[in-house]
């Protein structure tokens, strides 16, 4: 229930009420949400990997790749990407004079990824995602993320 609620609230971003409500999502549900987003993110490549696996002669290596290495790579890549995007938040925080700790920015970056990831999955399943589309997704993320940061009041001197 908490996971579904987090997803619904993420779709309402960057509304102020949704930003604040997402802060109240329990850690367990937040971790499940990370997993959900990673699964979504891995879906397009995962599908082609499974298709390749069906056709493959070298089953042992493909099984290792599909069953272990690929999920591990997705989790590592996803975590690094979100951490880097949260670093952008540190810059926005400094420019807009907000007091937001990195752990909160990390959570916000995670939720702000919802729309870009959904659009990436749709785009990848339909056709090969182009560089322009990747830039568009990054811009969409930055707009949502910056608006989320701006919902917080400026620091008092």
């Amino acid at each position: 229930m908490g996971l579904l609620n987090a997803f619904k609230l993420s779709l309402l971003l960057p509304k102020k009420k949704a930003v604040y409500q997402l802060n109240r999502v329990k850690t367990k549900d937040f971790l499940l949400y990370i997993l959900l987003l990673h699964v979504l993110f891995a879906l397009p490549n995962g599908v082609s990997l499974i298709v390749d696996f069906m056709k493959s002669e070298d089953l042992d290596n493909t099984l290792l790749l599909a069953g272990f290495l690929y999920p591990l790579l997705v989790i590592m890549t996803g975590t690094i990407i979100i951490s880097l995007l949260a670093m952008v938040g540190v810059l926005v925080r400094w420019m807009t004079k907000r007091k937001l700790v990195y752990q909160l920015l990390w959570k916000m970056a995670m939720y702000a990824c919802t729309y870009p990831v959904i659009l990436y999955v749709i785009s990848s399943l339909l056709h090969q995602t182009t560089t322009i589309e990747y830039i568009g997704l990054l811009l969409l993320f930055l707009i949502i993320f910056t608006k989320m940061i701006l919902t917080y009041p400026q620091m008092k001197k």
Binding site: V19, Y20, Q21, N23, R24, V25, K26, T27, R98, K99, L100, V101, Q103, L104, Y152, P153, K156
Partner: protein, 78 residues
């Protein structure tokens, strides 16, 4: 509407909430930390970081924790 720190904070005083509060509305008193209801923006950033689950939204408070809310209100009234 605001958040309230209940007396579970008395035994811990971990102060993690101080770091995450974006408007610095949490202050220490002799026994525990309390939230200034006039400054709190209701963002909930403090709620999930509290290691002893001592922070609740006003609407979710149990009857037995109402004295904590009244204490905070009285503290900042003067």
């Amino acid at each position: 509407m605001t958040y309230v720190i209940i007396d579970a904070c008395k035994d811990e005083k971990a102060a993690v909430c101080l770091d995450v509060c974006p408007v610095d509305c949490i202050i220490p008193i002799t026994t525990q930390y309390i939230i200034d209801p006039n400054l709190c923006i209701d963002c909930g950033a403090c709620e999930t970081v509290c290691p002893v689950e001592a922070i609740y939204h006003e609407d979710d408070l149990l009857d037995e924790d109402q004295p904590s809310r009244i204490m905070a209100m009285n503290h900042f009234r003067s």
